[in-house]
Amino acid sequence: MDKKLNLELYKKVYLIRKSEETIIRDYMEDEMKTPVHLSVGEEAIAAGVVHATEKDDQLYGTYRNHGIYLARTGETDDFFAELYGRKTGLAKGKAGSMHMFCPEYNFLGASAIVGTSIPLGLGGAFAKKYKKEKGLSFTFFGDGALEEGAFWESLNFACLHKLPIIFVCEDNELAIHAYIKDRQSFKSISDIASKFGCNVFKEKSTDPEVIYNLTLKAIKKHKENGKPSFLHLRYYRYLEHVGINQDFKFGYRSEDEFNKWLKVDPVDLQRKKLMKMGISEKEIKALEEKIDAQISKSVDLAEKAPFPDCEEVSIDVYA
């Protein structure tokens, strides 16, 4: 097993988990006035898929985008400043949690309307093909987006034109509080996607290494036959749809299910794997402390940063 790879993957899942735990810890101070859709439980997908991407590849996300953003950039200063609504944030506080955006890292948009960033990712892929440029569009969406017209429209067009796009369906079986069985008449999205002419891959693992390898396979297959690839990845959303709390007490889902998934918690799993590979507790701790310090510093900077000037409200409506 590859130690270096697994250390990198652990850094990513830990950074995501720790950043979001920090949000949870500080959210009630009411300084981060932005609705957060946390990635807790989803880290293996963010880390695994993003780690398989190259510099030229583009990412398009949803409102549950912290994991993807952090896995891609590794940075937390601009990220926290944005959550705190400060001048130093990614979009000077205009975007907040739901619209993380960072063209410097080819993270080109996230949307809080289900399914709407899929056509955006389609356009990124189209531009790559048109300009004959290297790189793929990695377009993320949840299982709820499978019910939106924009998804089917985009899938159809991408397959028709054989665009360089990797569809990444992050399936937690829930759209807010509604289960997939109460929403979808079809049983297997990957079967349907394959009929459109996609290369399909599915996985239920919470091991970032498994997701990473699967993504590499999806990329390889695309390069071989030019068809878009479709990753159908299962995970479990630990927290409420939006916000920082658990919501089992409301009865729409059972805590037993959560406990089953908790046994294969992606961060825990990856840490244990490192230990099994002979990496010492001390070494792992050192790595964790470094990330903890990075996050603390970022939060500190964000808290001290100024808010944007009032004139900023009318800037950048038009170019």
Binding site: Q58, Y60, G89, L90, A91, K92, K94, A95, H99, F101, P103, L108, G109, S111, I113, T116, S117, I118, P119, L120, G121, L122, G123, G124, A125, F126, A127, K128, Y130, K131, S137, G149, A150, E153, S154, N156, F157, L160, I315, D316, V317, Y318, A319
Partner: protein, 346 residues
């Protein structure tokens, strides 16, 4: 200067711009079929190939988002709809994505996307092939809305729209496609946000959009014969709106009619009336009046359609009312209609 039609002017603007910049591409339903969007896309696919001019699935929403994704990645898409009514299927992308993307990126990206759409009218276009909707698009911050009236505007404004780094909704009236006018052969952009004074006058200001300018020009002709001079201002760009020339004109004439090619309620006329009351209050001699579509869906049959659309006669009567003039005898007056040329079906 040589004369060409509005349709030819649109076509020429696209060809010249596509020759200039290889990042421009044209897409939409029927852009490569034998009709070529009423001729405006003639020769594009032959000249530039199917990579730069291609048809799409009937997926207005995703195709709009696709244009956005392409635009933020350095391309300059022109998406075409044969009717504004079909563009409504893309409202989610327009209002939730296209219009906000630059702002939400903190100004890090540009969205040079042109959306051309045709306003239908007559020969039974009915309720789903006749919408104009400029006020709805203009209501949304981040979108520009342009309505060319003359062939010269069609070419010059389309060139500017293509070169603009913002999303531009470009609304073309079907009947204007037949109009002829002097148009420069060179690709000469007309700046957006610059109104066109179609005729100067002293007695009353008519602000008109799109086809309503044709009606206003006829009304002004009739009124001139009885000594009333009308100043007609075509704002051309509805959003963002530069109202300087309009305000200046109303301050001079003291009377204003807004003839908008759209429904009146909550429309462009209401916006202008409010601005004029704010900026010309002391110089106004009468309240601003609005002319527009009847507040109903557009009916199919001709007699009801006549009731739905306003025309030059409505304008003449309103001017007379405002200036306390007796009604002009209009018998023998020929009110031309391009409908004589538009035999349908589409």
């Amino acid at each position: 200067m040589r004369k060409i039609t509005y349709q030819e002017a649109l076509n020429e603007a696209m060809i010249q711009e596509m020759e200039r910049d290889k990042n421009i591409f044209v897409y939409g339903l029927d852009v490569t079929d034998h009709k070529r969007i009423f001729g405006s896309c003639k020769g594009l696919v032959e000249k530039f190939g199917k990579e730069r001019c291609f048809i799409t699935p009937l997926s207005e929403d995703a195709m709009t988002g696709m244009g956005l994704g392409a635009a933020i990645n350095g391309l300059r898409p022109i998406h075409i709809h044969q009717r504004v009514d079909f563009l409504v299927l893309a409202m989610n992308q327009l209002t939730n994505m296209v219009s906000i993307h630059r702002y939400m990126s903190g100004g890090k990206v540009k969205v040079p996307l042109v959306i051309r759409a045709v306003v239908g009218r007559g020969w039974g276009q009915s309720a789903q092939h006749s919408k104009s909707m400029q006020s709805i698009f203009a209501h949304i911050p981040g979108l520009k809305v342009v309505m060319p009236t003359t062939p010269n505007d069609a070419k010059g404004l389309l060139i500017s729209a293509i070169r603009d780094d913002n999303p531009v909704i470009f609304l073309e009236h079907r009947w204007l496609y037949f109009t002829e006018g002097e148009v420069s052969e060179d690709p000469k952009p007309i700046p957006l946000e610059e109104p066109n004074i179609l005729c100067s006058g002293e007695d009353i200001t008519i602000v008109a959009t799109s086809w309503m300018n044709v009606e206003a020009v006829k009304a002004a002709e009739v009124l001139r014969n009885r000594g009333v001079t009308v100043e007609i201002i075509d704002p051309r760009t509805i959003a963002p709106l530069n109202d300087d020339a309009i305000i200046e004109s109303v301050n001079k004439t003291g009377h204003c009619i807004v003839a908008d090619n759209d429904w009146i309620h909550c429309g462009f006329g209401a916006e202008l009336a409010a601005r004029i009351s704010e900026k010309c209050f002391n110089d106004l001699k009468s309240p601003v009046k609005r002319i527009g579509f009847a507040q109903t869906p557009c009916p199919t049959t001709r007699p009801l359609e006549n009731e739905f659309y306003p025309n030059a006669i409505n304008m003449i009567r309103l001017v007379e009312e405002k200036l306390n003039l007796k009604p002009t005898d209009l018998s023998g007056e020929e009110f031309y209609s391009w409908e004589n040329r538009f035999k349908g079906p589409f």
